[in-house]
């Protein structure tokens, strides 16, 4: 049986052509991509040597245009449908040598970005014209990061759209994450900066971006904007305490995690080739529950302490609550977990490590989704053949099949509603649906009771 584990050598997972090897157009596109990358690398190697719009535009057109065309040509030769050929046998997508290399490259990039940005200087300078045009300020490491992030979401988003061009749910969802990344997480914050306003990200709020509701942000700090100051505060608080519960009630956590959020957007685009690497064992689920709710509890308590501290003359944490915060939570959760591990480990642990094990927003949305939402995944009677495609391609590591083969609804806190389980199902068994809350599982009609039971505060009925 062990021979089967490494069975065969289907076509490489990132190319999808009908015949082995690359065809002419694909070769040309790949060459353009490489050339664009070369310009970028030269910029890194020789800071300041490449300046002005010409090398920047050449890099963008060749790299992004080349990669997009490559996917275009590669998928054009296939019939629309699920084409996961070779994902489990190709080293890039199945933790082979190339997968590990990519893991190290991604991880290394984050380490350099957060703590040793020196070597990035050349790349940052290459982006100056764009940064000046958008934000009236020279580029810095965070501009470089935002630029690369957005480029990845757009190019790999196009790939995702080509892969799922037969599936309108996937098409709309991918357009949505591309739109929110480009507009709300890249253009808008930079334009605000040009207007001498704080770089406000409308799509990140407490507890994912706790800073927006911490005392020094609200009572001083970056809400000093005369034009928008109070609005930023209303929006930040409103998103967390009003919009989130309402939208999650109506549609489940997917409205955020797989349609709007930038972390989710990257996972659904750049991370798509590795979604099947999420561990779907029961042990992983147990670890996940403790970790993610632990982070939510931590940031909730920490936020409370910081407010009490600020209003008790710094009696608890001393004067420098903000420094303490950035050195602890900001370092371990914000940088290490969400960045280095969250994205760096895509090729090793799947695309949703952060969303699944660490994101406090996902934990909050998850509790709402599990008990106070109309969302569920329905299964279709007796049609399940237990094949395992759904569980394999669930990026959150949910054992979807375990529910589907029993004919049970899937009501799980972690489900981000990406819809890929329903897409890969060969027998039409799964459907993401919103409907009456009480239909979802026995006891769902009494959500508060179900919640307390799950916490062990009430005996199970």
């Amino acid at each position: 049986m062990s021979a089967l584990v490494q069975i065969g050598k289907p076509k490489p997972a990132l190319s999808v052509g009908g015949e082995p090897g690359l065809r002419g157009a694909e070769k040309g596109a790949a060459a353009a991509t490489a050339l664009g990358l070369a310009i970028f690398l030269v910029a890194f190697a020789m800071p300041g040597k490449l300046s002005g719009w010409v090398p920047l535009l050449a890099m963008i057109v060749l790299f992004a245009g080349g990669a997009s065309s490559y996917f275009w040509f590669a998928y054009r030769g296939t019939t629309p449908g699920i084409k996961n050929h070779g994902l489990m046998t190709d080293g890039t997508t199945a933790r082979g040598v190339l997968g590990w290399v990519l893991g190290v490259v991604f991880t290394g990039f984050y380490v350099i970005l957060y703590w040793h940005p020196g070597p990035l200087e050349g790349g940052i300078r290459l982006l100056d014209p764009l940064a000046m045009a958008l934000s009236k300020n020279p580029a810095n490491q965070w501009f470089l990061y935002g630029f690369l992030y957005t480029l990845a979401v757009l190019v790999m988003g196009l790939r995702m759209m080509l892969r799922y061009r037969h599936n309108r749910y996937q098409l709309l969802r991918t357009v949505s994450v591309m739109f929110f990344q480009l507009g709300f997480a890249f253009l808008l914050p930079n334009i605000l900066k040009a207007l001498n306003e704080p770089e406000f990200y409308f799509t990140y709020f407490w507890p994912l971006k706790p800073e927006v509701l911490l005392p020094w942000s609200i009572e001083g700090g970056w809400y000093t904007s005369e034009r928008f100051g109070m609005w930023f505060i209303y929006i930040a608080a409103g998103m967390t305490f009003l919009s989130t519960p309402i939208l999650t009630w109506l549609y489940g956590k997917r409205w955020y995690c797989s349609w709007v959020c930038g972390c989710g957007g990257l996972a659904e685009t750049l991370g798509d080739p590795w979604r099947h690497l999420s561990d779907n064992s029961e042990t992983a689920w147990r670890v996940e529950r403790w970790m993610i709710h632990g982070v939510l509890l931590t940031i909730t308590l920490l936020t409370g302490f910081l407010w009490i501290n600020a209003h008790s003359g710094n009696a608890i944490l001393g004067a420098d609550g903000s420094l303490l915060f950035s050195r602890t939570y900001g370092f371990f959760i914000g940088a290490m977990f969400s960045g280095v591990i969250g994205v760096g480990f895509y090729p090793l642990m799947g695309s949703r490590v952060w969303c699944r094990f660490g994101c406090p927003m996902a934990a909050y949305l998850g509790l709402l989704q599990r008990f106070f939402s109309r969302f569920r995944i329905t299964t279709n009677g007796g049609q399940c053949i237990s094949c395992g495609n759904c569980s394999t391609y669930c990026e959150m590591g949910i054992d979807v099949r375990a529910y589907a083969q029993r004919g049970d609804n899937i009501v799980r806190a972690s489900c981000v509603g990406c819809g890929v389980c329903a897409a890969v199902c060969p027998r039409g068994v799964l459907k993401l649906e919103n409907g009456p809350v009480g239909d979802r599982f026995p006891g769902a009609n009494k959500p508060v009771r179900a919640f307390l039971e799950a916490l062990g505060l009430k005996p199970r009925s």
């Binding site: 449908g81 007796g382 569980s391």
Partner: protein, 424 residues
């Protein structure tokens, strides 16, 4: 009490789980010659195509078996002695049972074609077939597949996914003609052609030619063509696997003969799933059902009877599903390939010439059966309509209730209803 189950497919596993639910203390042993653990047979193709690893196709984690005290034995049962209740294993060893369930499934048909025993000629059914196909895929550029059913098209898709050119020989004049009406056959034929597969209808295999190493190197067809190839896939249906019961006192016909409680002619022995042939009252044809869902359903009934809870097998309302390359098919009720006496068949096809729905009406205008390509429908809703004999006019009105496609998909129900009303 010791229950032994021969076979660890969906039937064997479902029976083991059901018996465990009813009898927490009984000893349960499941024997398989094919594999250590249960895995999903319909998922075999995805392992070859690199969509999943074999372990991903196993519905239960490794600790499941110990936790539920289901003992797994890897052995080939070569003889069953029903008087001493003893199983003999090929290669030595024996085991006694108190109650026995035969769930040995089926095996690929071979019709005595010249050259069928050459190397690089194979079926596509078992784990061993998959391993063999893997070996045979080395240096493979052209394959010939023989047989126009579900396994044939799956094998074509598998090989096609690795860039192997496939010639697909189908004896009938249209694809899967004993099951599908002709419009649907044509759809599948277009799907096959669109993939670049060389589909030859009305063509039979006459001979497989071997080279000096005893490996298949070409076939000759009934139209006299000689096609060079490095692999011949034989997928002309399956028949019950009777190797374990052969030579025993258990009565067999085409399959293991059972009554409607799935009991065989021998005491304390039951049979279920692909290998079982259910006797019907005088005049009616014996029932043989060889799909995933009936294996599961029969296992539940067999388990109940083994545990002493008298439960006759009720096949219920037929359903099935499959996927032909990218095109999904779901059926509720048995849609006839040609409408029977008094039946009326209503058909709608989308402009894409692959999405379609067919409703079949009984003589009294009520729903007999329905199926769809490219649209998903809800099992429980459609089953309810068929069971309750809902008038077709009402079905057409309520069709949107049954739609199970993902959100934002284009809905066709209004066009379907309009088209079918004009056929009434």
């Amino acid at each position: 009490m010791h229950v032994v189950i021969i076979g660890n497919g969906i039937t064997g596993v479902t029976a083991a789980r059901e018996i465990r639910k009813r009898q927490p203390r009984w000893r349960i042993t499941m024997i398989s010659a094919e594999s250590e653990r249960h895995w999903s047979r319909p998922a075999l193709m995805y392992v070859y195509m690199g969509h999943m690893r074999l372990q991903d196709t196993q519905p239960y984690p490794d600790h499941f078996w110990a936790k539920n005290r289901i003992d797994l034995v890897r052995a080939h049962v070569s003889a069953i002695d029903v008087s001493s209740r003893t199983l003999t294993f090929a290669g030595g060893g024996a085991m006694t049972y108190d109650k026995l369930l035969v769930a040995t499934g089926s095996q690929p048909n071979r019709f005595g074609w010249p050259g069928q025993d050459l190397a690089r000629v194979q079926g596509m059914y078992s784990l061993q077939d998959l391993e063999l196909l893997e070996q045979n895929s080395v240096g493979l550029s052209h394959a010939v597949i023989v047989g126009g059913g579900l396994i044939g098209i799956e094998m074509a898709e598998m090989l096609h996914s690795r860039g192997v050119h496939v010639t697909f020989l189908v004896r009938e004049e249209r694809y899967w003609s004993n099951i599908l009406p002709s419009e649907e056959s044509r759809i599948i034929e277009r799907v096959i052609a669109a993939e670049g597969i060389d589909l030859r209808l009305g063509t039979e295999l006459t001979e497989i030619h071997g080279d000096e190493r005893g490996e298949a190197c070409a076939v000759t067809t009934s139209s006299g063509d000689r096609i060079a190839c490095q692999l011949v896939g034989l997928t002309a249906g399956v028949r019950p696997n009777l190797s374990a019961v052969a030579g025993s006192a258990i009565e067999t016909g085409r399959g293991v003969l059972v009554d409607d409680t799935l009991a065989t002619s021998a005491p304390h022995v039951w049979a279920a799933g692909d290998c079982a042939e259910i006797r019907r009252p005088e005049g009616a044809r014996n029932l043989m059902q060889q799909v995933w869902y009936t294996g599961r359903l029969q296992a539940e009934v067999a388990a109940a009877n083994i545990c002493g809870d008298e439960a006759p097998y009720d096949p219920g309302i037929w359903f099935n599903s499959a996927k032909f390359f990218d095109l999904e098919w779901q059926t509720y009720g048995m849609v006839p390939s040609r409408p029977g006496e008094g039946q009326r068949s209503l058909y709608w096809e989308a402009p894409d010439r692959r999405t379609c729905v067919r409703l079949v009406a009984n003589g009294d205008g009520t729903l007999h059966s329905m199926h769809a390509f490219g649209i998903r429908y809800r099992h429980r809703v459609c089953e309810g309509w068929i069971r309750d004999r809902l008038p077709i006019s009402e079905v057409l009105e309520r069709l949107p209730e049954a739609n199970f496609d993902p959100e934002f998909y284009k809905r066709h129900e209004r066009q379907i209803a309009a088209a079918m009303r004009s056929q009434l």
